[in-house]
């Protein structure tokens, strides 16, 4: 079982964590997520999952810190699939603006979403004026 801070809740195979929208949260989140994945049989995938969530968090921090200053991460271990939602109540953004093609090889932007897509098996993003949910799934490697 992961050690939880006062901003976290867990019931077995589900954990949600609320973190302030700040750089310090990135490291805290990384360790919590890795531990959750390790504890639930996803050791081989835990580094990938933790890095993907780090990139999602950094994106929120750069573009859409919510007014309440908090970001929520929901994690679920269900059979052979680990599901993670990074949820913020910031201003949201136009999904169409996300690049579909990989970014320019040596360019300055777009590498975070490229990593998320490469590391996770399923990625979907829903965003509107009330916030954004980055939904990610990782399955056990065959």
């Amino acid at each position: 079982m992961a050690t939880l801070s006062s901003g976290a809740h867990s019931d077995g195979k589900h954990m949600d964590v609320e973190l302030p929208c700040s750089k310090k949260s990135v490291v805290r989140a990384r360790f919590k997520i890795k531990k959750f994945a390790d504890d639930h049989g996803f050791s081989a995938e835990s580094e990938d999952v933790a890095l993907a969530v780090v990139e999602a968090l950094k994106n929120v921090m750069q573009h859409a810190c919510p007014a309440d200053g908090m970001i929520r991460i929901d994690m679920k271990a269900n059979g052979d699939t680990l599901t993670l939602d990074v949820v913020d109540t910031g201003v949201g953004f136009d999904i169409e603006s996300l690049p579909i093609e990989p970014p320019e090889l040596l360019g300055n932007h777009g590498r975070g979403i490229q990593l998320i897509r490469g590391l996770m098996d399923e990625v979907s993003i829903v965003s509107d004026q009330e916030g954004t949910v980055v939904h990610m799934e990782k399955r056990h490697a065959p």
């Binding site: 750089k23 990135v26 490291v27 990384r30 580094e47 890095l51 780090v54 990139e55 950094k58 990989p102 090889l105 040596l106 300055n108 590498r111 975070g112 490229q114 990593l115 490469g118 590391l119």
Partner: protein, 126 residues
């Protein structure tokens, strides 16, 4: 993170120890800028002591590569961690960086041009 710098056979070997991420990139950038300021353009980045790299860290490696290219310096990477190589491959940096599995190989081979990865070495470490 701490960063060690030493001179070997005419190259400056830069070894960041720990995590190269959104927190530590400023220190890494400072060390590289100092070397550039001293016109020390032939650099080997020994990444064998890194435990984590995020997109900010990758960005700092790209910056170093671009600076090196702009002054026609030599730049090679030493990576013995398949996980770090996987991250480089996800963003296609293996196609431009010269990556060697140990410092000795890097010092021997750094003059070759184009992207290079010792695939044989990494196939044994998977």
């Amino acid at each position: 993170m701490e960063i060690q710098v030493e001179e070997k056979e005419g190259f400056h070997v830069v070894t960041p120890v720990g995590e190269l991420d959104v927190y530590t990139v400023p220190l890494f950038r400072k060390v590289i800028l100092k070397l550039e300021g001293e016109r020390r353009h032939d650099i080997i980045l020994d990444l064998t002591s890194l435990t984590f790299v995020d997109s900010s860290g990758l960005g700092s490696l790209i910056e170093t590569y671009q600076k090196s290219q702009s002054v026609h310096g030599e730049l090679a990477f030493v990576i013995d961690n398949p996980r770090l190589l996987k991250v480089l491959k996800l963003v296609d940096l293996d196609k431009v960086f010269k990556v060697y599995p140990n410092l000795g190989r890097a010092l021997q081979s750094v003059g070759i041009s184009g992207g290079y990865v010792d695939e044989e070495f990494f196939s044994d470490t998977k």
